[in-house]
């Protein structure tokens, strides 16, 4: 069986946070009671159970597991354990090559980290964002730098050797110096993986409004761009390899789960706002916590067509397009032979004109069997991706 004929990843979403950060537009909500959170966990288990009965694809051996959010660690160890067991009992925890859990430095303690390790998680992704307290405050984070550093230390102690820190550039109050300091400090911790995202001002977020009302200012474009370039410089010099537009890892430490997305491989997903992908179809769950809980209470819902989700069918043309725009995000580029195998097309012919333009503009390079973007191409990635839609 080909990789794209099985679920290569399993994603579980926790839509709860202690407080919503000012820039966030994910499906995450603060203010839900303990009671609702437990109801949610129960509903999640129900979804997992019912979906396992009507599985679109088999779950590959080694399929990665990823708990994301919101803040998964807002749930108690017991609750997280409940979900893990449910996955195990229903065939979705199939000797995962990697099991990651996202955590907010303000919500982890040594005991919980140990429990997570025991459940089988071997990787943790911490939302550090910055190691400057003033910057953290301006983002509305619930923790300060010290807690992040402590959390990383405790994770190591709990036996979680694979640690990722998420960082942001172009955020309010940040300067080239302060950003450099954050990078340096993070590197000192010798993590196996770092993600650095340029801030995107999403519509409808409080930060967008504040910036619009000139109550908060962001580093100007020139500075933001320099931070972007600095990221690659500093991290690469420290031994982390840039393997995707925003992701850096020590050799062999890349996020296997995220590579499932970028390789356009199928994955099963559970929970509010989560998205499953079979290769031909994408199914997105409702963003409404109560609707989710209520629907999955009823036994029959799962297998009906009008459950709390929306389905998007993807025709081959769209699949090819999406494979390209996801694959080109990685520095390893797109494997043209695999494209031939999977879609029976010769990419260089199929996109001849577009690829020639990218080559002429020095935005991409083509080696035997591989098409990839140059650093310049990544810098103007959206324009490159446009060629393939």
């Amino acid at each position: 069986m080909e990789r794209w004929e099985q679920f290569q990843g399993v994603y579980v979403h926790t839509p709860f946070c202690l407080q919503k950060c000012l820039y966030c537009d994910f499906p995450s909500y603060a203010g839900f009671s303990e009671e609702v959170r437990q109801q949610y966990v129960d509903a999640l288990c129900r979804e997992i159970e019912l979906r396992s009965r009507q599985r679109d694809l088999p779950v590959a051996q080694g399929a990665t597991v990823y708990f994301g959010g919101g803040t998964p660690t807002v749930l108690s160890a017991e609750q997280l354990g409940q979900i893990v067991n449910c996955l195990k009992q229903n065939g979705f925890w199939n000797e995962p090559a990697e099991a990651t859990i996202e955590a907010n430095p303000g919500t982890v303690r040594a005991e919980k980290l140990k429990a997570l390790r025991e459940f089988g998680f071997d990787r943790i992704s911490l939302g550090v964002q910055s190691l400057q307290d003033n910057e953290l405050r301006s983002l509305g984070r619930i923790h300060l730098a010290e807690q992040a550093l402590r959390a990383i230390e405790e994770a190591k102690q709990a036996g979680l050797q694979r640690i990722n820190a998420d960082l942001m550039s172009g955020i309010p109050s940040q300067t080239m110096e302060s950003f450099h300091q954050t990078l340096d400090k993070i590197l000192q911790l010798n993590l196996s993986h770092v993600s650095v995202y340029s801030l995107i001002l999403e519509e409808g977020t409080p930060l967008e409004r504040l910036v619009g009302e000139s109550k908060v200012s962001l580093p100007d474009e020139e500075v933001s761009y320099n931070m972007y370039e600095m990221t690659t410089d500093v991290l690469t010099r420290a031994g982390l390899r840039r393997y995707e537009i925003s992701n850096y890892a020590k050799p062999g430490q890349e996020s296997l789960h995220n590579k499932v997305y970028w390789h356009y491989e199928p994955y099963a997903a559970f929970g509010v706002g989560s998205c499953s992908f079979t290769g031909k179809e994408r199914r997105t769950n409702t963003f409404d916590v109560h609707a989710y809980i209520n629907s999955w209470k009823a036994a029959e819902t799962a297998l009906q067509n009008n459950g709390p989700w929306q389905t998007e069918r993807l025709d081959p043309k769209t699949q090819i397009s999406e494979t390209m725009i996801m694959g080109l995000r990685m520095t390893e580029g797109v494997d043209l032979n695999k494209m031939k195998q999977r879609f029976d097309i010769d990419v260089l012919k199929y996109y001849r004109k577009e690829i020639q333009t990218l080559l002429d503009k020095k935005m991409a390079t083509c080696e035997p069997g591989i098409l990839r973007l140059t650093p310049y191409g990544m810098r103007y990635g959206n324009q490159a991706f446009e060629a393939f839609v």
Partner: protein, 601 residues
């Protein structure tokens, strides 16, 4: 049908006063089509017309009406466009009739277009039947309208017919009035054939279809006809009437309106206004014809993809088959490459042609801002007509520049007179006179440069009068003006297609605003782009489009793909309308920047 039982008439009115609904009603009430067969506004057969709710093309319909006196009458009526651009089309239709229904909205009263069309009808010696429509509306005031008709137009309105095309009330009275008051055509089947071509349409199988009004003689299938203007002869392959769908008949007789097909290859061979006669027994004299429609507004049409040039030319040729008032000529622009300079009757005409080219012929086009024809008196005594701003000669050889002026008739409630005057003054208008139509409404005459009208005068007139103002205008001649050419430079290179002719007083301000507007319209590219306005060698304004330092989505995971893909698709679609000009990509909006300067961003 006996000649004395034929009635040929038109329905003319201002936009939205209900003439199309009335036409529907007349078709319905005469039983020409059953209610089920009625598609709303059926005479507006082109999709575009229906979408925009306007009539573009004449359509002629024949109905048989059994009058109250028990006798059958043949009613031929022709629907006409109501927009100021299409005066020419209206006059063609009127020439084929003996009478006209003048339809006026009972709650609006006389509008500028009503006047214009009525004068046309009077010029054509038509019997005018005033019809006061929409009497079902609570704000209807038929007596007021009657008085307006008498005071302003000067015709007797005591026998105006009141109706509501919507409810059907009074429609039968209209039909009776047509029978009683519109004269029967004065014609003779036995005289040599004389038929006026008042419109034409191209059919790929049948060739040019001529819409004709027969004055004398008859037309039959198989007969040999001659076009009196060119002397060309043809054999009639089909003859018929519209009901409103075309229906073949054996013979079209004197006094009737219908169509004929004769395997005529191009519209040039059989011109509107020409007289059709029998080539074996021809008439002695042709009917009085038409003056050629003068285009008032020009623009450049360029394909986004240079390879589409031939397709654009073919499409324009096809459109011209049905639209003799569309003019076009090849032209080149250093910025845009090969394209065409096109002449239209007005802005609406231009919009419609553009939309048809894009929709029916699937062409991606760049249109340059519309402009008028300038007359340049050169220092050496030569006179040059310039229909393209970039062809403006060097200032050193110009003695005088003259531009076309119009006399504008504006009808507006008295509360808005001040704003209308202010607007017109701003647009370099000269006040001529003002009269009160009734206690509420005023008719103002202004003399204005045509170039100001085509910019945004109509839109601003509407907004400064809350939509109440109506406008009509007529060319009144050329006047000298202190005009200069403002050039636009991108990245230091002049872009000829962006040049604009402005009044010297406004040049500085216009130049600055144009540059600012362009800066906001030109998408950022990987390098910074200086945008400058210049008059001659002197740069009068400059703005820079900042360089884009990076443009990439930082995050993209499973659930994001659909949203991001759609965003990319949208971005890409937006770029389709961009034209590469030198090193810079320009969207269509940039070429219209000069028109949109007053709009808030």
């Amino acid at each position: 049908m006996q000649k004395d039982h034929i009635r040929n008439f038109s329905i003319i009115a201002h936009i939205d006063h209900g003439k199309s609904t009335l036409a529907d009603r007349l078709i319905e009430m005469t039983g020409t089509l059953s209610k089920r067969e009625m598609e709303e506004q059926i005479l507006d057969s082109m999709e575009l017309e229906r979408e925009r709710g306007i009539t573009i093309k004449d359509q002629a319909v024949q109905s048989i009406y059994r009058a109250r006196n028990g006798e059958d009458y043949m009613l031929n009526f022709i629907d006409t466009p109501g927009h100021v651009d299409f005066n020419y089309e209206v006059s063609r239709a009127l020439a084929a009739c003996e009478g006209a229904l003048l339809v006026i909205d009972a709650s609006q009263g006389i509008e500028a277009q009503t006047l214009a069309n009525t004068y046309l009808a009077i010029d054509n010696n038509l019997e005018i039947i005033p019809v006061i429509n929409k009497i079902d509306l609570p704000s209807a005031d038929p007596d007021k309208v009657r008085k307006e008709i008498e005071d302003v137009i000067g015709i007797d309105a005591s026998e105006a017919v009141l109706c509501s095309a919507k409810t059907g009330e009074g429609v039968e009275d209209i039909l009776e009035a047509i029978v009683e008051r519109i004269p029967a055509p004065d014609c003779d089947d036995n005289k040599p054939l004389k038929a006026l071509v008042f419109d034409s349409k191209f059919d790929s199988y049948k060739g040019v279809i001529l819409y004709v009004r027969v004055y004398d003689g008859t037309i039959r299938k198989g007969m040999k006809i001659e076009m009196m203007a060119t002397g060309a002869t043809y054999e009639v392959t089909e003859v018929g009437v519209f009901k409103p769908a075309p229906v073949n008949v054996d013979v079209l007789s004197a006094g009737e309106v219908g169509f004929l097909a004769a395997a005529i290859k191009t519209v040039g061979e059989a011109r509107v206004g020409d007289t059709v006669t029998d080539s074996v027994h021809p008439a002695e004299e042709p009917l009085p014809g038409y003056r050629k429609a003068t285009p008032m507004v020009f623009c450049g049409l360029y394909p986004v993809e240079n390879t589409d040039y031939d397709n654009l030319r073919d499409a324009l040729e096809k459109l011209q088959l049905n639209d003799a008032s569309l003019l076009f000529e090849p032209e080149t622009s250093t910025a845009l490459g090969f394209g065409f300079r096109c002449g239209f009757l007005g802005l609406l005409h231009m919009d419609i042609i553009k939309e048809r080219l894009e929709r029916e012929y699937k062409l991606d086009l760049i249109t340059t801002a519309p402009n008028v024809v300038y007359q340049i008196d050169k220092t050496n005594g030569d006179i040059e007509l310039v229909d393209n701003p970039s062809a403006f000669p060097d200032p050193t050889v110009i003695a005088t520049v003259s531009e076309p002026y119009v006399t504008a008739t504006i009808i507006v409630p008295k509360d808005y007179v001040g704003s209308v005057m202010e607007l017109s003054q701003e647009k370099r208008g000269e006040y001529q006179n003002m009269t009160y139509l009734d206690e509420d409404r005023v008719m103002i005459h202004y003399s204005l440069p045509l170039s100001e009208i085509i910019f945004d005068y109509f839109d601003r007139l509407k907004s400064c009068s809350r939509g109440y103002a109506s406008l009509d205008y007529e060319l009144s001649g050329y006047k000298p003006s202190d005009l200069v050419k403002v050039d636009i430079l991108l990245n230091g290179d002049p872009v000829d297609a962006l040049s604009a002719i402005v009044h010297r007083e406004n040049a500085q301000v216009q130049g600055r605003r144009l540059v600012e507007r362009l800066r906001s319209l030109i998408p950022r590219q990987q390098f910074s782009i200086p945008v400058q306005a210049a008059i001659g060698n002197k740069v009068i304004a400059r703005e820079d489009v900042a360089a884009l330092r990076k443009d990439v989505l930082a995050k993209c995971y499973g659930g994001d793909i659909t949203r991001k893909r759609k965003l990319l698709e949208k971005q890409k679609a937006g770029k389709k309308r961009m034209k590469q000009v030198g090193t810079v990509e320009l969207p269509q909006e940039a070429f219209m920047a000069i028109l949109s300067m007053d709009k808030k961003k």
